[in-house]
């Protein structure tokens, strides 16, 4: 009977270990591949990086017929972008902020602009301005002009709704008044 608690602990521990693997990886990859990818995901988690983007990137690679080596490489690049985002935003940044900042960095936002945005937003979340930047650039606005507009709004402590209200027309025809003409990229 004395052995029962030990057996229970072992069984429970095994179950927890098995349960720690993301079910989506187990469904789409062979056990060996899933374990290899899970190690990468876990290591990102140990760095306090968001892990769901890594799992989704692995699923994307599988859907696109990529080899496990290609998927591992893609995950390592993403982990690097998330690590950069975490480095800029700090240990207390939310998962949303780090994930969105990682996406912005992947698309080409300079790290210096991310640092500036962090500074301008203070303790406020940077997801709203980053989402606006990504959305406007997606709609064809100049990244440089977009950054000028976003950073000005952030500097003015504008509410989040002001970021989501921006349109490419605002960017293209209404340059920030706080800067002299010709100072825009």
């Amino acid at each position: 009977m004395r052995a029962l608690p030990l057996v229970m602990a072992l069984v429970t521990g095994s179950a927890l270990t098995l349960g720690a693997q993301d079910a989506r990886l187990g469904q789409r990859f062979s056990p060996a591949e899933a374990s290899r990818l899970q190690l990468l995901v876990d290591s990102a988690g140990n760095e306090h990086l968001p892990t769901d983007p890594l799992v989704l990137r692995a699923l994307e690679g599988q859907a696109k017929g990529a080899s496990v080596v290609e998927i591992v490489n893609a995950l390592e690049r993403l982990r690097s972008a998330l690590r950069s985002a975490r480095g800029v935003l700090g240990a207390t940044a939310s998962t949303d902020d780090v994930t969105t900042a990682g996406a912005a960095l992947e698309v080409g936002m300079p790290v210096t602009e991310l640092q500036e945005l962090r500074r301008l937003r203070g303790k406020d979340a940077i997801t709203p301005p980053l989402n606006a930047w990504l959305d406007l650039v997606a709609r064809g606005a100049s990244p440089g002009r977009t950054w000028s507009r976003i950073s000005d709004l952030a500097r003015q402590r504008a509410p989040d709704a002001d970021f989501s209200r921006l349109t490419p027309a605002d960017i293209g025809h209404d340059p920030p008044p706080s800067r002299p003409p010709g100072d825009h990229p």
């Binding site: 696109k64 893609a74 949303d96 989402n131």
Partner: protein, 376 residues
């Protein structure tokens, strides 16, 4: 149907504000046209598809130079009015084709074309009716041609089965040859009729694509004849692809162009990328929050799209089929919190690609991916 054609492309892209596709393919190989000696050949093919509002303009043609024999050519044009409503797709408009076989006069036809299609999930059924007048060696003749096609699409693979019948009108004005191919015998009622049943496979994976079709021709007092054609292409750059094409085609029942076998290798240039939707008042991709946990997404795509699939971070990269909305766009409801999501769409079994109007990023797997921004 001959594989030897000539192309004249009209550069009307600038006049079509919504979407356009222009390709030119050039290559060389060997061919063996019916009743002629085998020869080496060079070929050039061009296609243009442009859509402005509900108008769909298609121009295509090709030319083949058979060394020692001569040149064959074919040009076709159609202008269809396109309408989509409640999952139905319809096209109506004129089309025509002009061709010249080796040692034969120019022939052609003009017709009215009606197309009706309905997609349900991965399946679609399409019915077409063409009727018009053909100007062939024996004079002008009336004709009609119904076609039925059933299609099934699953990821990168699309399969279809088709039946087509070509006939002269029953009140023929006489003559021993009504439709163009003089090897097709006359029926007891004076009609000439030929049927083609065929099956097609399209497979597209990353840069590689295969398009193949095999069919059987039959008719009253007509010995069954099998025909086939396959084309494989590999995209080297976004605008250039290597293309290998081989086939053994039957004659053109309507215009009488001789059939034959040929194999060619060449290069295709996508001078205007396919389905390049230009900026319009309506955003190409629209997102609207439905509830606190779900969003409604619309994609504005060319009206000739029949089946559209979506996959991405929001679906754990599983493919989901989109529905046709009342305004002709493609829509779906998805669970999504505010954030940035990587997504792809697939139109009619073509390669997965970023939806129009989204930021595009290198996906890290040798392709590109769209970034869908979902706001609160």
């Amino acid at each position: 149907m001959t594989t030897h054609r000539w192309t004249a492309i009209l550069l009307l892209g600038a006049a079509l504000p919504l979407s356009a596709q222009l390709t030119v393919t050039s290559g060389g190989g060997a061919g063996h046209l019916d009743h002629l000696t085998p020869s080496s050949l060079t070929t050039i093919t061009g296609t243009f598809d442009g859509q402005a509002g509900p108008s769909l303009l298609s121009l295509s043609g090709n030319s083949e130079q058979h060394f020692g024999l001569g040149t064959t050519g074919l040009a076709s044009a159609s202008w269809h009015y396109v309408a989509d409503h409640g999952g139905w797709h319809a096209e109506l408009g004129p089309d025509g084709e002009w061709a010249r076989d080796i040692g034969a006069p120019t022939v052609g036809y003009a017709a009215a074309h009606l197309l009706l299609a309905r997609a349900v999930g991965a399946f679609s059924l399409q019915a077409e009716w063409e009727s018009g007048r053909a100007w062939i060696a024996t004079g002008a003749r009336a004709w009609y041609r119904p076609t039925l096609t059933a299609r099934w699409t699953a990821g990168p693979i699309a399969l279809d089965a088709s039946w087509q019948s070509t006939s002269n009108a029953s009140d023929s004005t006489g003559g021993s040859q009504i439709i163009g191919d003089d090897t097709i015998p006359e029926r007891s009622n004076g009609e000439h009729q030929v049927h083609d049943v065929s099956a097609g496979l399209r497979w597209q994976m990353a840069r590689f694509a295969f398009d193949g079709r095999v069919g059987q021709r039959f008719g009253v007092s007509l010995a069954p004849e099998m025909w086939w054609q396959g084309e494989a292409s590999f995209r080297v750059t976004p605008i250039m692809s290597l293309v290998a094409r081989s086939g053994r085609l039957a004659s053109s029942a309507l215009l009488g162009l001789r059939g034959g076998a040929s194999t060619t290798f060449g290069v295709r240039l996508d001078l205007v990328p396919p389905r390049a939707v230009r900026p319009v008042a309506l955003r190409a991709t629209e997102v609207e929050r439905e509830t606190s946990t779900t969003i409604h997404v619309w994609f504005a795509l060319p009206a000739n799209a029949h089946h559209v699939a979506f996959r991405g971070d929001l679906t754990d990269w599983k493919s989901v089929t989109l529905d046709r909305s009342g305004d002709g766009r493609w829509e779906t409801l998805l669970r999504a919190a505010p954030g940035v999501y990587r997504v792809d769409i697939q139109v009619d079994g073509d390669a997965w690609s970023p939806p129009p109007g989204l930021a595009v990023a290198d996906d890290g797997f040798g392709s590109r991916v769209g970034l869908l921004v979902v706001t609160p």
